[in-house]
Amino acid sequence: MSIDSQFTHKMWNDHELSKMVDGGVPFPMLSDAGGKVGTVYGVYDEEAGVEARGRFIIDPDGVVQGYEVLTPPVGRNVNETMRQVQAFQLVRATGGAEATPSGWRPGKQTLKPGVDLVGNVWKEWKTEQAFD
């Protein structure tokens, strides 16, 4: 979503993005002319008239589980976004019985929050696991 019109989105997709991605952009490119949606989401910069690089993870209940907002010159990390979605999906699938510690990615150990874990995280989880 950006402040550009759907017509500009069409031009960008058809003339540039489709040269980078086979078949073009696979998801809807939305228009937020005037920045009204961006204002509600806290990413619209009134002075510049554009939106910051905001990324919101919304779960199947419509609840915001996480977000990241960067100023325009720095791009996002898609792998990190996907990792977070996978982590939230695991937590949801286990009904909150499992949690994903720092550095978790699919296949890595989770933690089971509860009375027994209090003061015992050091036995279950090592600081090296925070890193890839």
């Binding site: 979503m1 950006s2 402040i3 550009d4 759907q6 017509f7 500009t8 989105h9 069409k10 960008w12 997709n13 540039e16 078949g23 073009g24 952009v25 696979p26 809807p28 490119m29 939305l30 228009s31 937020d32 009204k36 949606v37 961006g38 204002t39 509600v40 989401y41 806290g42 990413v43 002075e47 510049a48 008239g49 554009v50 939106e51 910051a52 690089r53 905001g54 990324r55 919101f56 993870i57 919304i58 779960d59 199947p60 209940d61 419509g62 609840v63 915001v64 589980q65 996480g66 977000y67 100023t71 325009p72 010159p73 720095v74 791009g75 996002r76 976004t81 979605v85 939230f88 999906q89």
Partner: protein, 82 residues
């Protein structure tokens, strides 16, 4: 005045000449309150937006995606290069 180099932070432009009337403080307060609607663990504000998707112009309502995981991404503008 020196022209600012083209970039993704370049202002889109705006009115020239006399400054518009200053918004009364009470109204400014309302605008500020409207700005802070995002909190993790709270519902995402619903919206409808027109867009472009696979050769068609579409209208998307974010609440139509209930039941699915959604990534909502904002960016400064089409043809930006980051």
């Amino acid at each position: 005045m020196a022209e600012k180099a083209a970039g993704c932070t370049r202002p889109a432009g705006g009115p020239v000449g006399k400054e518009p009337d200053i918004i009364p403080e009470a109204e400014q307060q309302i605008i500020k309150e409207k700005k802070s609607m995002i909190k993790v663990g709270k519902p995402a504000p619903d919206f409808v937006a027109s867009g472009y998707h696979k050769g068609e112009f579409v209208s998307v309502k974010i609440s139509d995606y209930l039941g699915k995981w959604v990534l909502l991404c904002f960016y400064p503008g089409d043809f930006t290069f980051v």
